[in-house]
């Protein structure tokens, strides 16, 4: 059985300077209440690994606006002009990674691979500084694994054992990130007794999840 934590307790657990993987795609499938708590405790110097930085006032955008973020590893910041402005001003360091490469790097970190070879990025700026490896006559970029101190996951349902399931396009990076955070904290819309989520519907086994955020009432 997992511990249910209040938002402030989660925020207190995340130290300044920590690296966080945060699920979501343009704010869909993002643990908003955990983010609100991090903003409320004025977290600083965070490294965020996420698909995008959403938009001002939503999801990771709130962390950016509040000045909590020192570094972002992401595929897209186009819908958040504040991230772009802070990047240009030198306040946030941004590493841009193709989306498919980003998710595979996170997966590699989570499943104990030392890296993956992808054709994506060959012959572009993304190739700069990377090893090119030839396999079966084709060239690939060697992309290295990503891990984080915390993975902050948004789920549709969690059960008391920490099993998670997701809904429609709110899956996105959440199931993969749940593999790659040293400490995994899930925010679910519903928290249900063990057995309510059948084994075949579990997308993230509870053994990966360390804590569940208390449900919003």
């Amino acid at each position: 059985m997992k511990t249910a934590l209040k938002p402030a307790a989660v925020a207190a657990m995340v130290p300044d300077g920590a690296s966080l993987m945060i699920g979501g795609f343009m704010g869909v499938g993002t643990p908003e209440r955990i983010i609100d708590a991090l903003v409320a405790r004025r977290a600083e110097g965070l490294t965020i690994i996420a698909n995008d930085t959403a938009m001002p006032g939503r999801g990771i955008g709130k962390l950016v606006s509040a000045g909590c973020v020192a570094r972002v590893i992401t595929s897209h910041i186009g819908l958040n002009p504040e991230t772009q402005a802070k990047m240009i001003a030198g306040e946030i360091e941004v590493e841009l990674v193709p989306q498919g490469t980003l998710v595979e790097r996170i997966r590699a970190g989570g499943v104990g691979l030392g890296g993956i070879l992808t054709p994506t990025g060959l012959g572009t700026e993304v190739e700069e500084g990377k090893h090119v490896i030839e396999v079966q006559g084709c060239r690939y970029l060697l992309e290295t694994p990503l891990k984080a101190d915390f993975a902050l996951i948004s789920a549709y349902q969690a059960d008391y054992a920490g099993n998670l399931c997701y809904m429609l396009t709110a899956h996105n990076f959440n199931p993969v990130m749940a593999l790659a955070g040293a400490i995994v904290i899930a925010e679910a819309e519903s928290i249900v007794p063990v057995g309510v989520i059948p084994p075949d519907a579990v997308k993230t086994p509870g053994v990966l999840v360390d804590h569940i955020l208390e449900r919003a009432m």
């Binding site: 989306q99 994506t120 549709y156 809904m167 959440n174």
Partner: protein, 217 residues
């Protein structure tokens, strides 16, 4: 018919029964409007659904079902939810039959630049690099010129999206096929002359005697 509708209608004709197709946000997403619902085409939104449907009825929007631009969508019967690892696995693995994307520049090698204008616009590549690298067919759907400047150029001056040659360029003036020999003009938009197309194109076009007018869906 405005410029965008010409492009969307012409691209729609390329989409055959049973295909899995990814439409980029903006102009490309308009293509779906001109593909008959009974053609058995599945649209993928790379944020997490196969079987993307139209806009939902008023009041039926759900924040767990959006497209890659963050807009509310529906799902067709037979749709499947996918996480980002599966989504880009399908894209990079060659399971996506077609992607339709916008472009900033396309050149005589058929190379596409569509993700960055150094010093001006750095939104990040999102999924574009994976899509252009992995999709079986890549169609660039864009206006022929931008503020009077040619977007079809001898060599891209903007950073490339991939080293792969795109399959088709569809604009409000013309349909162009990149080949080993260069850019071949295949069709004129309704009422447009070959001379007008040449004048609006920065690259050399290969033009045979009779260039037919586009048929539009």
């Amino acid at each position: 018919m405005d410029a965008k509708e010409i492009i969307a209608r012409r691209v729609a004709i390329e989409i055959k029964a049973g295909m899995l197709v990814n439409l980029g946000i903006g102009l490309p997403s308009m293509v779906a409007n001109f593909v008959p619902a009974d053609r058995g085409v599945f649209f993928q939104a790379e944020n997490g659904v196969i079987g993307l449907g139209a806009r939902p009825p008023e009041g039926m929007q759900d924040p767990h079902l959006t497209d890659a631009g963050g807009g509310f969508v529906t799902a067709v019967p037979g749709a499947a939810s996918i996480d980002s690892a599966m989504s880009f696995g399908l894209i990079r693995g060659g399971h996506l039959d077609m992607t339709v994307l916008g472009g900033l520049q396309v050149d005589e090698l058929g190379h596409l630049a569509n993700w960055k204008v150094p010093g001006k616009m750095v939104p990040g590549m999102g999924g574009a690099m994976d899509l252009v690298t992995g999709a079986a067919q890549v169609i660039v759907a864009m206006q022929h010129t931008a503020r009077g400047e040619a977007k079809i150029v001898p060599r891209c001056t903007l950073p490339l999206t991939a080293q792969r040659r795109v399959n088709l360029i569809v604009t409000d003036l013309a349909l162009i096929v990149p080949t080993d020999d260069g850019l071949v003009l295949r069709e004129r938009a309704p009422g447009v002359t070959v001379d007008e197309i040449r004048a609006a194109t920065g690259a050399t076009l290969i033009v045979s005697h009779d260039i037919p007018e586009m048929q539009l869906a």
